[in-house]
């Protein structure tokens, strides 16, 4: 038995319906298009917005890493405990 085939979803062919369902599910995760009506947002737009969203998240991680690297030198023993607890509780 080919291990490659067993790794794909049950059927040997992925149906269009499956893809449509997954793309519409993906919409919920992307803030840009979450609230727009599903028939007005084509799949290509969903994928494009998803890519943009991921890239913007990566940029934010970069910026925050730089910020944290500058702040790291300044934190002292007392405030870090409180910061950690606060950040863990924060929603």
């Amino acid at each position: 038995m080919s291990s490659r085939r067993s790794r794909q979803s049950g059927t040997s062919r992925i149906t269009d319906d499956q893809i449509i369902e997954l793309v519409s599910k993906l919409r919920q995760f992307v803030p840009e298009i979450r609230n727009r009506r599903s028939d007005k947002v084509p799949a290509s737009k969903v994928l494009q917005e998803t890519c943009n969203y991921i890239r913007s998240l990566h940029r934010e991680v970069d910026d925050l890493s730089q910020r944290l690297s500058q702040l790291l030198a300044t934190i002292d023993a007392d405030s870090e405990e409180a910061s950690i607890i606060r950040s863990l509780i924060a929603q």
Binding site: I19, L22, F29, V30, S44, V61, S69, E80
Partner: protein, 158 residues
């Protein structure tokens, strides 16, 4: 809509990530008191680069090996992978090489899916269904990662 079970999962994941990431930060702070560059295993990385790597690594560790994307991150960034690739030669590199997977392309998906594959860790070898599922999970984890980092940055600057 996120169900209650998923919220519990995402909370524990957020806390796991925050713990690992913060302990990595403190470790960095105690390791080298002077800010700036440090030579690591022959490669020079700025502290902000190390922080970025620690963030992605901590999140992948918090997720574990349940997800294809987190497995890809772990094998790429994990210290074991680095030691492996340096000491051993062919044998381990063979297992790290991407396996050729037959993907069934849907017409019309090719253009944007290709970009998505490059953005999602491990996306290159997934079929389109897995890619979409992994993307959704990856996005939620990334968003959590950003929120925690943001909160830390806000708290540290007080």
């Amino acid at each position: 809509m996120i169900s209650k079970g998923a919220t519990r999962n995402s909370n524990s994941r957020r806390i796991k990530f925050a713990r690992r990431f913060v302990s990595a930060l403190l470790h960095m702070r105690n390791q080298n008191p002077r800010p700036g560059s440090l030579s690591i295993e022959g490669s020079v990385r700025t502290r902000s680069q190390r922080i970025k790597i620690a963030a992605y690594l901590s999140m992948a560790q918090a997720v574990g090996s349940r997800r294809a994307w987190s497995r890809a991150v772990l094998s790429k960034l994990g210290s074991r992978a680095r030691r492996h690739m340096r000491r051993m030669g062919r044998s381990s590199l063979g297992s790290l090489k991407k396996k050729r997977v037959i993907r069934s392309y849907s017409p019309g998906e090719l253009g944007q899916a290709k970009k998505l594959r490059q953005l999602v860790p491990g996306g290159e070898t997934m079929d389109i269904c897995s890619l979409l599922e992994e993307t959704a999970h990856y996005i939620t984890c990334l968003a959590t990662q950003v929120k925690v980092m943001q909160t830390l940055a806000d708290n540290f600057s007080k």
